[in-house]
Amino acid sequence: MSETHHDCCAHHGHHHELVIENLTVSYRRVLALENVSLATSCGNRVALIGPNGAGKSTLLKAIAGLVPRDGGSIRWRGTAVKKWSREFAYLPQREEVDWSFPITVRGLVEMGRYPQTGWWRKFSAADTAAVDRALDSLALMDLQNRQIRELSGGQQQRAFLARALAQEAHVLLLDEPFTGLDRNASLLLGDLLAKLAHEGRLVIASHHDLNTVPRLFDEALVLATRPLAFGPVAEILTPELIDRTFHEPVVPA
């Protein structure tokens, strides 16, 4: 990885904070998230853990502005995020993507520039350079002309990460990024997320494999519609909490 254009903590020593307060989301009168709060800053990798239906995906979507909030606030770098922010990138679960869509890897990464170019402006040299940089840093240069279905699972995940980098996103919101990856691809993606965080991005990912949380993440939010615990992984993942979260039936609010 060469130079990045991040003015984030890794380079300037100050931390950009993401502060979520009392976030509440419901689907058709069913509560999906209730009073979720957390405060973290760039350079961190945050795991969202909890049983199925705990609201992990909903929280990612709420931060990305994909589902309306009933209440609560999201602040990034001290500014309230009303609906969406160009500095946030959402990466869907792999099975939600139509991989037969006729688009090349490069075309997919170029889509990341659209918030900068707007709906009409042609790609400038700077846009092309950003796309090249993103492809390069995720080792996708040689695959740039492949149709996206012709990639392995790990490469597909990297293609979406490259799209987020082309967008110059600071906050990466990943829905179950490790699901369905083989061991090697999983290790590679883990290293990659560590590198991206080290460069000053904030990585937030839903994750269901508790065993790998300490290796892959710095902080964890344990969710069951309501937040049960948030903090550094080493402090949070106590046997009692895991037992309470995963082995007792979750009482609906």
């Binding site: 969406w84 990138a89 939600e96």
Partner: protein, 278 residues
């Protein structure tokens, strides 16, 4: 080739209309293929028949405008109705569409004997491009130009939405509005092809061209422009051939496009049945 035929003004108009409608519909077929909703296009096309019948029934006369407006109204009603029903979360949208369009089609069939213009209605079922007047050409041209203009202006948000609506919304694209826009343009495109191929065959023009291109390329933009070229070129060739062999031009257009698709399916260098295994 029968050159005398080419100097006939009816025939010239037919060729111009076929080329233009074919191009506009072929271009738009790219979106239908990307959106994977060829079946709902088929449902909407059948909805146009009761719309036309209703238009005639209400106004008592069969004119282009009555037919176009009736067809558009019915397609919008059934299409948006299915979306509304599906929002209730109990009935899936495809199911709702099937229920509504067959009900509308049945109502149209029930209404037909009450009309004294049954004969001409056949033109709307299967098209009658040789009979196009100058008004028809201008309607087709206007709709086609409008569709091309809007889709080209909004190509980026449309593609983002079609590829992955969630990621698009996270990039600030007004996904819901774009989806309604695509639907509205789809109905317009369907209506514009009525005169050429009729409501039953309009699906062929609005699906086949880009389906053919999708077998030949991985480039998204090629789907639209290639679809337009195949749709326009195929339609012109079909009208020429139909004059030569004495078959109706509407079916000829859809047959030619279908043959091109089969050729691509067999011989595409990358995805064809006869392509070398990699």
């Amino acid at each position: 080739m029968d050159f005398e035929l080419l100097t006939n003004p009816f025939y010239q108009r037919a060729l111009a209309t076929a080329g233009f409608i074919g191009f506009a519909n072929g271009f738009f077929s790219g979106f239908v293929v990307l959106r994977r909703n060829a079946l709902s296009v088929s449902a909407l096309s059948h909805t146009m028949l009761p719309g036309i019948a209703l238009g005639i029934f209400l106004t008592g006369a069969l004119s282009q405008w009555n037919a176009f407006l009736g067809a558009m109204f019915a397609a919008l009603l059934v299409g948006l109705g299915s979306v509304a029903v599906a929002r209730g979360n109990r009935v899936e949208q495809g199911t709702a569409l099937a229920v509504l369009y067959t009900a509308a089609f049945a109502a149209g069939i029930a209404l037909l004997p009450k009309l004294d213009t049954r004969q001409e209605l056949e033109h709307w079922l299967f098209g009658d491009i040789i009979a196009v007047g100058n008004t028809d050409i201008w309607i087709a041209f206007g709709i086609g130009a409008f569709t091309l203009l809007i889709t080209n202006l909004l190509m980026r948000p449309i593609l983002l939405t079609l590829f992955e609506p969630n990621v698009a919304a996270a990039q600030g694209v007004p996904v819901r509005s774009i989806q309604y826009l695509i639907f509205g343009l789809l109905v317009l495109a369907l209506v514009s092809s009525l005169q050429a191929v009729g409501c039953v065959l309009s699906v062929g023009l609005l699906v086949t061209p880009a389906a053919t291109v999708s077998l030949l390329t991985d480039r998204t933009s090629a789907l639209f422009w290639g679809g337009g070229l195949i749709g326009g070129g195929g339609s012109i060739v079909a009208v020429l051939l139909s004059g030569k062999f004495g078959i109706a031009p509407g079916p000829a257009i859809v047959i030619v496009l279908g043959l091109l698709f089969i050729a691509a399916y067999l011989f595409s260098p990358k995805y064809g049945l006869l392509a070398p295994r990699r």
